[in-house]
C-alpha cells in the first residue's frame, strides 16, 4: 500500500506545476476564452513539449504513461492551475483512437493535431446513447446529419469524433474533419470561462475510413474523461481551500481576522474534511480503473467512477459556495482569481454527468450487482 507518486510521475507533476505557476496566467485564460480557438496555442505547444499529452497515453501508442494514476496526478495539477486547454477532450478522443486509429496519436502527442469527442446531444442530457444524428452509408463512404451539444474545445479541433446511428439502427463513431463541408461550429464562452460549441452537421460527406467503430468504443473514453474531471475538480478544490484559508487569516473585520470566528473555523474544517473525502474518492476511482485495465468487467470501474463523480460534484460545489460565502462581497467579483476557480468548480459538475446522475448510476449498478 503506497499512496505516493512514483519518481517519474512526481517529476512530471513538478514540471507541469512549475510551468503553470511561471507561465500560465488567468489573464491568458480569460483572453483565450473570448474567441476561437478558445485556448492558448502556445500553452498547448508547451504542454506537448513537457510531455503532458504523451503522459495521457501508453507507450504502445507513442505515449509514456497513461495509467489512471498518471491521469489523476496530471489533472489535479491542471485543476490547481485552472488550465483551460483541451487536455480532457484529447484524452477522450485519443482513448478512442488508440483502438481505432492509433496512427493518429503521434501528431496528437506532438501537439500538432487536436481531436475532440462530440458525443452528446441536446435531448440526451448526460446520456450519450441517445443519438438523433444519422449516418447514411453511401457505398463509398457516409453522410452525417444532426447536431451535437456543448462540445468542449470544438473550435480548437481539426477533427471531431461524432456519434451517429446508421440505417440499421447501429450506433457508431465517425471521424469528422472540422473543415469538412456542412460542419458548422458555433463557439461560445462558458460560464466557467472555458470554451465550448454547438455543432451542426448538414449532409457532411465522409470517406469510407471515417467510421471508427461501434459506440461501445466510447465507454472507456468517457470513463477516463470522468476520472480526469474528478481529479481536476480536486485540484480546484485544493486551490480554493488554500485561498479561502488565506483570506480568513488576513481579512480583518471588527478588529480581528475573520478566521477568528469559530463558526467560520468549523465550516472551514468541514471544507477540509470534504476535500479529503474527494481525494479518496478520486483515488478509489483510479484504483478501480487500474484493476480493470485489461478486463472486460467494467461494472466495478464504472461504480467507483460514479461514486467519485458524485462525491466530487457534491463536495466541489459546496467548497465553491463556501469559498464565495467566506470571502464575502469581494467573492462576488470577477476581479478575484478565486471567483474563476469557484465558477469552474460548479460548472465542472455539468460535464459528463452531474452528482445526481452519478448517484443514480451508482444505485442502479449496486442494484444490478
Amino acid at each position: 500500500m503506497d499512496f505516493t507518486l512514483s519518481d517519474d510521475r512526481q517529476a512530471l507533476v513538478d514540471v507541469l506545476g512549475r510551468f503553470i505557476r511561471e507561465r500560465y496566467t488567468l489573464a491568458l485564460r480569460h483572453k483565450a476564452s473570448q474567441d476561437a480557438p478558445g485556448h492558448d496555442q502556445a500553452t498547448w505547444q508547451q504542454l506537448a513539449e513537457i510531455g503532458v499529452i504523451g503522459a495521457l497515453f501508453d507507450e504502445e501508442f507513442g505515449g509514456f504513461a497513461g495509467s489512471p494514476y498518471d491521469l489523476i496526478a496530471i489533472f489535479e495539477t491542471l485543476g490547481h492551475g485552472l488550465v483551460s486547454e483541451p487536455v480532457m477532450p484529447v484524452l477522450m478522443a485519443g482513448t478512442i483512437l488508440e483502438q481505432a486509429r492509433p496512427d493518429l496519436l503521434e501528431d496528437i502527442i506532438a501537439g500538432q493535431s487536436i481531436v475532440v469527442p462530440a458525443l452528446f446531444e441536446a435531448g440526451g442530457r448526460y446520456d450519450h446513447t441517445i443519438i438523433q444524428t444519422r449516418a447514411v452509408n453511401t457505398g463509398s463512404g457516409f453522410t452525417l446529419d444532426g447536431s451535437k451539444a456543448v462540445v468542449a474545445h470544438a473550435e480548437a479541433a481539426n477533427a471531431l469524433i461524432v456519434s451517429a446511428t446508421d440505417e440499421s439502427g447501429s450506433a457508431g463513431l465517425y471521424l469528422v474533419p472540422t473543415d469538412a463541408e456542412g460542419v458548422f461550429i458555433r463557439g461560445y464562452p462558458g460560464n466557467d470561462g472555458s470554451r465550448a460549441a454547438e455543432i451542426s452537421l448538414t449532409n457532411v460527406a465522409l470517406d469510407e475510413g471515417a467510421r471508427l467503430g461501434d459506440i461501445a468504443l466510447a465507454d472507456a473514453a468517457i470513463a477516463k474523461g470522468r476520472l480526469a474531471l474528478c481529479a481536476e475538480a480536486l485540484g480546484i478544490a485544493e486551490w480554493l481551500k488554500t485561498a479561502t484559508l488565506d483570506y480568513l487569516k488576513t481579512r480583518v473585520q471588527f478588529g480581528k481576522p475573520i478566521g477568528s470566528n469559530q463558526a467560520l473555523q468549523h465550516r472551514m474544517v468541514e471544507m477540509v474534511v470534504r476535500i479529503e473525502q474527494m481525494r479518496s474518492a478520486v483515488i478509489n476511482a483510479a484504483a478501480a480503473m487500474d484493476g480493470n485495465g485489461g478486463g472486460t468487467d467494467t461494472t466495478a470501474r464504472d461504480r467507483a467512477i460514479s461514486a467519485a463523480k458524485y462525491t466530487v460534484g457534491n463536495n466541489g460545489i459546496e467548497v465553491a459556495e463556501e469559498s464565495i460565502q467566506m470571502h464575502g462581497g469581494i467573492g462576488m467579483t470577477m476581479e478575484l482569481d478565486m471567483t474563476h476557480f469557484a465558477r469552474r468548480a460548479v460548472l465542472i459538475d455539468h460535464q459528463l454527468g452531474d452528482a445526481d446522475h452519478h448517484l443514480a448510476s451508482y444505485i442502479a449498478s449496486a442494484a444490478a450487482a
Binding site: 442530457r125 446520456d127 461560445y188 454547438e198 463558526a263 467560520l264 470577477m334 471567483t339 469557484a342 460535464q351
Partner: protein, 398 residues
Amino acid sequence: MDLSFSPEEQAFRDEVRDFLKSELPARLSDKVRTGKHLDKAEIEEWQAILSRKGWLAPHWPKEYGGQGWSVVQRYLYDIETSQAHAPHVVPFGLSMLAPVLIAFGSQEQKDHWLPRMLNGDDWWCQGYSEPGAGSDLANVRTAAIRDGDEYVVNGQKTWTTLGQHANMMFCLVRTDTDGPRQQGISFLLVDMEAPGVEVRPIITLDGGHEVNEVFFTDVRVPAENLVGEEGRGWTYAKYLLTYERTSMAAIGSSKAGLAWLKSIARAEMANGKPLIEDALFAARLARVEIELANLETTTLRVVASAAQGGAPGAESSILKIKGSEIRQEISSLARRAIGPYAQPFPPEIDVEGSNEPAIGPDYAGVITPNYLNLRKLTIFGGSNEIQKNIISKAVLGL
C-alpha cells in the same frame, strides 16, 4: 386564529391584480419571468406607470404622498407584483432614503426630495459599504471635511448597486475621527454628477454589471445636504436597517422562481421521462416548496405581529436567513435542471441587445448567471453570519 384575509384586504388584493393585469406590459413581465435583466429605460417605464397610479411609494404616510398602506397591504402587494413578474422598483430612494428623510430630514429636504422621488426625477443609490467596511459598517473612512458652506468628500464606496444609473447618492461619511468609531459618522446626500465623482463598474461572477465602485476626489457637497445632525449618521443608518425587513423573506420572488423552475423541470427530460418525475429531483423540489410554504406563514406571522404594533426586530433576521437560502436553493435546482446547458454563457449578456438565437433551450441562458448572481443573497444586506450573530445576541441572549 384566523388565517384568511379580511374582505377589505381581499378587495385590495383584487384591485392590485386588476391593475397588474391591465397596466403591466407583457414585454416587461416576460423578461422578469425568464430571468432577463431590465435596462434603465424599462425600469423607468414601469416606475412611471406606478407613479401615475400613485403606487410608487405606497408605504409612505399619506401626508407625503404615499397611500399609508398597512403592513398586510404591503405584503399582499409584494406577493402580487412578484407573482405577476412585475419589475422591482429601485428601492434606494423610495424605501431606504425616504424613511430617513421623513424621520430625520429638514422640512426643506422633505419638500425638495420627496416629490422628486414620487415623480421619478432622481435615481438614488446607496453609499454605505467601503472596502474594509462591509459587514463592519462602523469602519467607514470616507472623509467629509467641513469647508465653509460645503463638505469636501474624499474616499471610496463600493457595492453601489445600479450606481451607474444614479444621479444622487445618500452615503455615510466620516466627519470626525475622534471618539468611538460609531460616532463621527454623518449622513450626506451627494450629487453623482459633481466634479470628482467617478463610478467604476464591478463585474460580478455572473458576468453582469449591477454594482460599482464610487470614488470621491475633493467632491464638494453643499452643507444643506447633511441629513439630521452631524455625527449621528450611524443612528440614522441603523434606523434604516431595521425598517421594513419582512420583504427580506422574498416570498414573492421565490414563488415566481419556483413556478418557473417547475415549468423547466416539466420540459427537461431525464432517463426517458420529464425531470419533474425523477424521484430525487422531485424530492428536492418538494422540500424547497414545503420550506417556502412554511416561510410564507412565518413571514405572515411577523407581518401580523407588526400589524398589531409589534415591531419586527430580530425576527426579520430569521426571514432573511431562510428566505435567502430558499431562493438560492431554487436557483441551484434550476441550474441542475438544465444539465449540460448550464455551461454556455448567454449571448445577450455578452453583447447588449444581441439578437442571436438562444443556445440550447430558450430558458437556459440566464439560469447559471442567475444562480451565480444570487450567491449575493447570503452575503449582502448583512451576511447570514451577521444575521445569526444578531439573533444569537438579541433573541437568544447568548
